[in-house]
Symmetry: C2
Subunit: 342 residues, 2 copies
């Protein structure tokens, strides 16, 4: 891979910091590094490979000379600054929802639809964390036996809502232990020792924004625009990594043994399925791991063509930073320049 | 109701204490009260309606003169001492799994199959907490539109594993906040800031004991021995009350509006379903409540005859103590003496 000039927009956020760490961990060939954030973070310093880098203000002229820009500062910032980055000849890997459903923007999990990367037009969208983790676990089964229907219940960690939300969970747990009053600012409900329906707006169809993203983004990545998917997205008092209980309806029967063998060979998957030791995927163990952990691989007691899975994945890594860097690795292999639209 | 002579076996346990509190709260007509426990609890004193009662040792001759005995000391103790209680003319409300699947023992949630109580032969079984909460929410829908299939993912609190497990969660959260090493003794995995597959043994069919109880007990209560049910039972770091994401497949379509109207009138159900305020069932709010909270009542995006629910219920109350006292209230209305088997 040719060394790349890299910019990170939202470098001081929960995902931005993880992108830096993953670039180090993967020994990504970084020619130059520009850390961009809002005015309030300017002056802060972040380390990359032992060297300090100053955070600069995000402005439209900041992208000159960049090859790849990671955007992780929310959809509003992406809509405002991605055009400037593209105009500067930079390929954007956008972690926000801004371009995910744009028909001209590939939405990519490399293990699932890496082939779509070649069609990019200067922007590649990184999917919603829950959809990314789901798709890594379900895609190999879909390839083998055709997934006709997905029902998924999620157990989503606080850090999915950012660093402040993770801090809120820690603060609430500490105040509870000290017998103090529990305060909240980020989440609409107490998160410590509680679970609640995902804190995004509920749409007309009765599903919240997070759930509708899971449906639409999974369909787009699977190239299956009508795939029936019914999600229930729930927050749990976990700091990091999302878990998911997944029920699949298949075109043809697949035994748990066959599914286990397929998943054991699937890229990005680690099978954690030790019934004797009662050891299955857990967010604590999946935290920090690039792979999605898959276990409780078993038949669906309610459907002969069904299969059930229990999954945990680090939503800051496979659900965000790692998937973004993985896209960048693929882009660097292909070409760092945007291609013409088809 | 005629005042009843009451015994509580396992009076010092998590559920035993709750039974005492519910008897007070319901102003249950208690003529006399006997608190029984293992030798190690003898000498302890518990209060009932402001008066102290000494804990006595559980022995076979302890049940003389009792009308109703609540058993909540595990299946082994129930198997050992229930025969003595029955022989003394006492009707047993058993909270353990010992007699639940016995064809001669009714397994009862009064809102679902209260009619089965009349067939008791000296013992009535109180169902598994997860099955009890599920059945209260699903039964009214089953009556209206015929439930053909149930998929359920649970979010089960620590106290479902007893008072020591609840303490373990509190201790781990406190040690985490203090930067200390986290210890565990009750659960096989860290429960604070983590979720894991239910800590019961996984059976040959790939489902753990808790999940198999949900399947078998719901079928028995619904008088639907073949009803397809696929559960995923998960522990979450919540102190009290279980939550459940439920997907139903129905004989005929039922709109969310129709389902909401049915549930609003259903006994034992409280509809908590305010999409505008993002206010849905939560274990924190369901704790201490006798009713099962039901919300996120919506169509199943993956099935035209489907319906989805999100439920929270206090597993120490509706899932244990309150259901047991409710059974006792019904028994006291019927007769306090065992009837002959049919």
């Amino acid at each position: 891979m040719k060394p790349q000039n890299i910019a990170i927009v939202g470098a001081t956020g929960a995902v931005g910091v993880e992108i830096l760490r993953v670039l180090e961990r993967r020994n990504f060939p970084v020619a130059s590094l520009k850390l961009l954030a809002s005015a309030r973070s300017v002056g802060k310093t972040l380390e990359f490979k032992g060297k300090p880098y100053k955070v600069e203000e995000l402005k439209a002229d900041a992208f000159k000379g960049c090859d790849i820009a990671f955007f992780s500062a929310g959809a509003t910032r992406s809509r405002e600054f991605v055009p400037a980055a593209r105009a500067a000849g930079c390929v954007v890997v956008d972690n926000s929802s801004a371009f995910r459903m744009d028909p001209n923007t590939p939405l990519v999990v490399p293990e699932v639809n890496g082939g779509d990367l070649a069609k990019h037009n200067g922007v590649v969208a990184n999917p919603n964390c829950t959809a990314a983790i789901l798709s890594v676990a379900v895609w190999p089964i879909h390839q083998a036996a055709g997934v006709k229907r997905i029902i998924v219940s999620t157990y989503q960690s606080a850090s999915g809502a950012g660093a402040a939300a993770m801090q809120e969970l820690e603060d609430q747990a500490r105040d509870f232990s000290a017998g103090k009053e529990i305060k909240r600012a980020v989440f609409p409900h107490q998160i410590a020792f509680n679970v609640f329906s995902h804190n995004t707006k509920v749409a007309e169809n009765g599903y919240n924004e997070e759930e509708n993203k899971v449906v639409e983004e999974t369909r787009k990545m699977f190239h299956a625009p009508e795939l029936p998917i019914a999600p229930t997205c729930i927050r749990v008092p976990v700091l990091r990594a999302h878990s998911e209980a997944i029920t699949l309806e298949l075109e043809k029967p697949l035994s748990p043994e066959e599914a286990r063998a397929i998943l054991a060979k699937a890229p990005g998957v680690k099978v954690v399925d030790d019934a004797a030791a009662n050891h299955f995927p857990m967010p604590l163990e999946a935290s920090g791991d690039l792979d999605v952990h898959v276990g409780r691989i078993r038949r669906d007691l309610s459907n002969p063509n069904g299969l059930m899975l229990w999954v945990a994945g680090d939503q800051l890594l496979k659900g965000a930073a790692w998937n973004a860097v993985q896209i960048a690795e693929e882009l660097a292999k292909l070409s760092t320049k945007p291609m013409a639209a088809e």
